[in-house]
Symmetry: C2
Subunit: 233 residues, 2 copies
């Protein structure tokens, strides 16, 4: 019990995907009513509200911009964030921001990548949702490991870091203390699996019934997975 | 096309349930990238940030308070809210606030109930998630209609307004232009069904694949439904 992770943090940035963040966090809220001492920090580069609309809409994702949006308020910036046991990195259209991907200037390091790399040694677990694994891949922490991602970015993100064993067919992956989920809503299944891993199936099941959510139990059962053959078409 | 609802509003209050709001809204965000002219207002009694923690934790729901929370920022209050086509009323622990339920002073009307009653005649659709149907039931608009709710409140909410035909086993209900969903995550299925109803199945399916969400298609298939026999035990 003493070693159970209790101090959660989630990273926010402009262009985070709403359910990537709010799906796992509502599971966490429900967990916090059942397990004492759970805390959460919402962490960003600065503490201005972060929007679901990215600063620059990615041109290579084949989709028009959203016209509706929401914001979440960070509680800490990267300098003031407290010690964490679990860090969650969500995906979203903002993960394609040039600072994260194009690296127009190699001297400019994505502050999220820097924060994750800096904090990882003291974390108990690092979780990613959707394209969050693309951000984390650039730390090098996923090199040689199995990871998955938003399948709509299969043509794009694996090229950012080919050293990762990108899985085209996985609802989520667990490799040591780094867990990655597939696109958008899959983060809810990852979070339920994580709660089960840490606190046992009884609590996970209790929360899923309370949330009236039919959780997926098998990480390899990916209804939205693609085969490499399909991908090459 | 001209008559398709485009102007969405969602009600916020302290103690809204995170996925009740953010599940349907992420479907809406994704819709807004595919259908032009979709707008969203986040509407509350006042425009201070609204928290997932209620002002008073309900004593009759058999659960300890959450220790983690998030806030959403309203864009409008009840006076400044624009004309709307679709109004979404989420549930959450705040729906058990005494002003909504106990009616300690009959002269005090819940401002949410007042707003819904006032706006309904000009709405094209009214949607509720989770215990949101309990709030809306107090307008009288559900009298004689089928409605469902968060099954964890089956012993409590139907008593607030017995004139409603409360359904113990329904993922969601559709009665004319008032649709109600079951607990928490069921609002995502309701929203996908609503998108299908308005914009057709191709768009609904496209969004569900993009969000990697296995939507439930049958409103009567309720894995968390209860039988009246169970309820009487």
């Amino acid at each position: 019990m003493e070693n159970q992770p209790r101090r959660y943090g989630v990273i926010l940035y402009d262009g985070f995907q709403l359910i990537d963040v709010c799906g796992p966090l509502d599971v966490l809220n429900s967990l916090s009513a059942r397990v004492p001492g759970i805390s959460l920090s919402l962490i960003a580069e600065d503490t201005s509200p972060k929007s679901t609309i990215p600063k620059e809409w990615p041109a290579n994702m084949g989709m028009s911009p959203f016209s509706t949006s929401q914001t979440l308020q960070p509680t800490h910036d990267f300098k003031t964030a407290p010690e964490l046991d679990v860090l969650i990195v969500p995906g979203g259209m903002g993960s394609f921001d040039p600072v994260r991907t194009g690296k127009p200037n190699p001297a400019v390091v994505d502050p999220i990548v820097e924060f994750v790399r800096d904090r990882y040694p003291k974390l108990k677990y690092l979780l990613t949702v959707c394209t969050g694994s693309g951000i984390v891949s650039q730390t090098g922490l996923l090199d040689g490991k199995r990871a998955t991602l938003f399948k709509g970015a299969w043509e794009v993100i694996p090229k950012w870091r080919p050293q990762v064993h990108w899985q085209p067919r996985a609802r989520w992956t667990e490799e040591g203390n780094i867990w990655t989920s597939s696109g958008v809503s899959s983060g809810i299944d990852l979070m339920f699996a994580f709660v089960k891993h840490i606190h046992g199936d009884e609590i996970a099941q209790d929360i899923s019934v309370w949330m009236e959510y039919s959780r997926q139990l098998n990480p390899d059962d990916d209804p939205f997975g693609i085969t490499v053959a399909e991908e090459r078409e």
